[in-house]
Amino acid sequence: MHYALTINGKSHDVDVDADTPLLWVLRDAVKLKGTKFGCGAGLCGACTVHIGGQAVRACQTAVSDVGNHAVTTIEGIGETAVGARLQKAWLAVDVVQCGYCQAGQIMTAAALLTQNKSPSDADIDAAMDGNICRCATYSRIRQAIKQAASGADFGANGQPRKGA
């Protein structure tokens, strides 16, 4: 089946089976590898993308259900103000260990901050608990979300943070 998808503002014509999860369409047909496969069951959040601005698990979304909605992935989220702030905060806080989950974390956080400019700890808990970080960088994830939300000046990209 042919599907016309709008991904990160660009249109893509893909020829895939109707039940193919958006995750595999992105990764293997469109060749956008930033969206990650972790569990295939909506349990880990590594495949989080935005469809029509909502955070969804791409492994649980058949391509046939995407319709005309715009899809945004980690490769495109930096084009939004919230996404750019998050990516900057992620680097300033030096969140990443292995990094495999971080695309999904940032996509979930971007949906949260778009809807809630100043999330409380409880709001962050509610939004982010579905995203597993196997390296457990959670306190830095929380810190980076707050830093991005506060709109603070993070300094240069990758600026060293205060040491341990």
């Binding site: 089976d17 293997d28 069951a41 349990l43 680097l91 260990q97 292995c98 597993i132 959670y138 306190s139």
Partner: protein
């Protein structure tokens, strides 16, 4: 019968009971030298060769350092990056002694090349101790060559030249030149003797000890394709591989001809495989034009399996066998100090306790995968591996090729935790590519990963200890029930006889009994220690309470005078353990704060992988038994320098939380020879809402720097369990923690 310690095997990197001889010698030298600089180098001398990164106008000074005319410096990072931050940290060591500004530095992943880099692997928290000297000296050697080149150009003695931020300076004449301008000349000079090159006085360090963000993190946050699973080869097909759910089972028949008719399926075939659980096992491969189509075809797969003998094994059965060992003498003695029986009969108090921990899985978030391309007698692999050398050996053996024909490209790994020290997935991908006659990307699904792991083995410990009238520990009797056969432990199922309080209790016996196991086991982050810390440090806490002593002070008293006792590496230093315990007492406010009802603090320490960590957990237990961890304080001693403080803090926090996740959530159940848990619903890593703040401190001591991937994890588990006891009076003796037992 005596139990043989597991000797060093490349396949079992960091569950070894004995470290390799060269490593032991290396550390012994360090101890003898009072922890000062070491001159013993354990990597081959630098080999001059064109580095992969060398582009036009760039000059390669040694296997690690290439400098371009524009003064940009490319440093090779030798080991696989699995999230431990090695790709940033090892080049920091080189850049420090090369004396360049970090902003000049570009980092490339080195190829697998033992002649140039020695052993390349990620395991056992060994990168820091093994590379601290060689990497700094590789940088210093390149610096010396650049100075020599500049001095020759200026016709001045090299001894009059200094360096700063990538320039050679001649103070008296006021001349200076960039490294880039003299690199070509330097590259023609002989490589100096690494043992003799001058290294910096640590007080002049500008990079070591300064927080340096992860080099590839800017690419990670943009979703750039860095991981093994992201790799693409032109004309590549996608594969799935179904093995028998029962470990060691074989294929009798499979409906591969039906599968071949399905849309997109290019091939489907039975893999005969072998019987080595760490190699290519029997199964059915399905190759398709997309991974999704291969997976859909797999849903229609029908296999008749010969399940084999392991089908008779189960967690319940193991528990029953272990219980039967309880009343018996251990099959094997590990240690026997003094007269335990006499001491127990004269003790004022005898304390008995049974401890147990389950099998657990690694579950790195990137599932096992590998891209392989077999072309005639040559195979190229792109693998997220912690252990590329043995991976290459296994692939060569599996395909019957010479090792020189197996090219392994190391990719970034989406977590490792020890799982990727095994190379089964590489052998599978190579075999499937060979049969399919095309480049193939094999991707396991999460259930494959969870049900075909090399598990942290379960274990049982039966204790009896004696306290005298003053509450002093006078007798310790421990019967460990583990897995193995013929006096050999199953992988990572061993226990060393030097674990504290051994050596500090006058009458102490440790023995072990082994049961046969068909389930594959292997090293999980802090192997051995991740289970044994729980057992030893919880039971010592029990004894402190029975003795009516403060648990932290009880341990400090038991540690006694500062000295080296036998143990891993150079040994276990009681003074370093005491140092982290004293510091965690101070930073946690131990015993200083009034805590609410059903809130408690617990403490534990552990020496693992050459590092010392003491941790305090403050936890509140609700009337419903639910546990809320308020805060964790972690204090580490990993030697004289914390090389990259931001990464060190991150790693320590992650290690602590990983341990807490194991204690709170994790169990793998064996039933009829197969694993019951299948995904992150029934087997959960720690989640954000369970992640307590972890305050990390380091004490520095005059010892060579050691690694941080593992040592922070083990004490977190007993510190939590001891906090729960302090909060509720209920002792946790079995993992994962059963909150139903903690109801008010």
């Amino acid at each position: 019968m005596t139990l043989q310690d597991q000797s060093f095997q490349p396949q079992a990197l960091f569950n070894v009971a004995k470290l390799p001889t060269s490593r032991r010698a290396f550390l012994k030298a360090g101890a003898a030298a009072g922890g000062g600089l070491l001159l013993t180098l354990t990597v081959p001398l630098l080999v001059k060769a064109a580095a992969g990164a060398a582009s036009a106008g760039a000059s390669t000074l040694n296997a690690y350092v290439t400098i371009a005319a524009d003064n940009s410096v490319t440093i090779m990072s030798k080991n696989p990056e699995i999230g431990q931050g090695i790709k940033t940290m090892l080049p920091m060591l080189i850049a420090e002694e090369l004396d360049v500004a970090w902003s000049q530095v570009r980092i490339d992943q080195a190829p697998l090349d033992a002649a140039k880099y020695g052993r390349q692997f990620a395991g056992g928290s060994q990168a820091t101790p093994l590379n601290w000297e060689p990497c700094r000296r590789a940088g210093a050697a390149a610096r010396q060559m650049l100075i020599a080149a500049a001095a020759a150009q200026w016709n001045v003695p090299a001894s009059e030249c200094t360096t700063s931020e990538g320039r050679v300076l001649h103070q008296s004449s006021g001349r200076s030149v960039t490294y880039g301008a003299v690199a070509e000349r330097a590259s023609t000079l002989p490589v100096p003797d690494l043992a003799k090159v001058a290294v910096k006085d640590p007080k002049n360090y500008t990079i070591i000890g300064r927080s340096t963000p992860g080099y590839d993190s800017p690419k990670v946050v943009k979703g750039e394709p860095l991981f093994g699973i992201d790799h693409e080869v032109p004309g590549m097909l996608y594969a799935v591989f179904q093995k028998c759910p029962v470990f060691g089972g074989k294929v009798v028949t499979a409906n591969v001809n039906d599968l071949k008719k399905m849309t997109g399926v290019r091939d489907a075939f039975v893999v005969e495989g072998g019987s080595d659980l760490h190699g290519l096992m029997p199964g059915v491969a399905i190759v398709a034009d997309s991974w999704w189509r291969a997976s859909k075809a797999r849903e229609k797969l029908e296999v008749t399996w010969d399940e084999g003998a392991t089908a008779a094994q189960s967690s319940a059965g193991f528990a029953k066998q272990a219980a039967a060992f309880r009343g018996q003498a251990p099959q094997n003695s590990l240690r026997n100090d003094g007269d335990v029986a006499a001491a127990l009969s004269s003790a004022a108090q005898v304390v008995e306790a049974d401890y147990h921990y389950p099998f657990i899985a690694h579950a790195p978030l990137e599932p096992m995968n590998c891209t392989a391309h077999v072309e005639g007698v040559k195979v190229t692999l792109w693998a997220p591996t912690q252990n590329p050398g043995p991976g290459r050996t296994l692939v060569a053996k599996t395909l019957g090729l010479d090792e020189s024909k197996v090219i392994v490209n190391m990719t970034r790994c989406g977590g490792g935790f020890g799982r990727r020290l095994d190379s089964d997935f590489m052998a599978e991908a190579a075999w499937i590519s060979k049969v399919a006659g095309a480049p193939v990307k094999l991707v396991w699904n999460r259930t494959d990963d969870m049900q075909h792991d090399f598990y942290r083995p379960a274990g049982w410990h039966f204790f009896k200890a004696g306290l005298d009238a003053d509450g002093k520990l006078i007798a310790w009797q421990q019967h460990f029930v583990s897995f193995g056969k013929n006096g050999n432990y199953a992988r990572s199922a061993n226990m060393e006889s030097t674990i504290f309080p051994a050596g500090r209790v006058p009458n102490l016996s440790m023995g072990v009994s082994l049961m046969p196991l068909g389930v594959p086991t292997g090293p999980l982050r802090a192997p051995g220690s991740n289970a044994l810390a729980f057992v030893f440090q919880s039971f010592i806490d029990e004894l402190a309470h029975k003795a009516g002593k403060d648990p932290l002070q009880f341990q400090i008293d038991l540690l006694g005078k500062p000295e080296m006792l036998p143990g891993r590496g150079a040994g276990f230093h009681t003074g370093r353990a005491r140092g982290v315990m004293e510091k965690v007492r101070e930073v946690s406010g131990w015993g200083q704060r009034k805590l609410p009802e059903r809130t408690g603090m617990g403490v534990a320490f552990y020496y693992s992988h050459l590092g010392y960590f003491a941790e305090v957990v403050e936890a509140a237990v609700g009337n419903d038994g639910q546990i809320k961890i308020n805060k964790v304080w972690a204090v580490g001693d990993v030697g004289s320098h914390v090389i990259n403080p931001t990464a060190a803090e991150n790693m320590a926090q992650g290690g602590v939380l990983d341990g807490l996740g194991e204690a709170l959530n994790q169990k793998i159940t064996i039933d009829k020879g197969r694993v019951v848990e299948a995904n992150f619903d029934s087997f959960q890593p720690l989640r954000l809402t369970q992640a307590a703040p972890v305050e990390v401190h380091f004490v520095t001591t005059d010892n060579p720097p050691t690694g941080l991937g593992e040592p922070p994890l083990p004490p977190a588990i007993p510190a939590l369990c001891n906090a729960i006891f302090a909060a509720t009076g209920k002792r946790i003796r079995s993992l994962p923690i059963d909150t139903a037992l903690l109801k008010a």
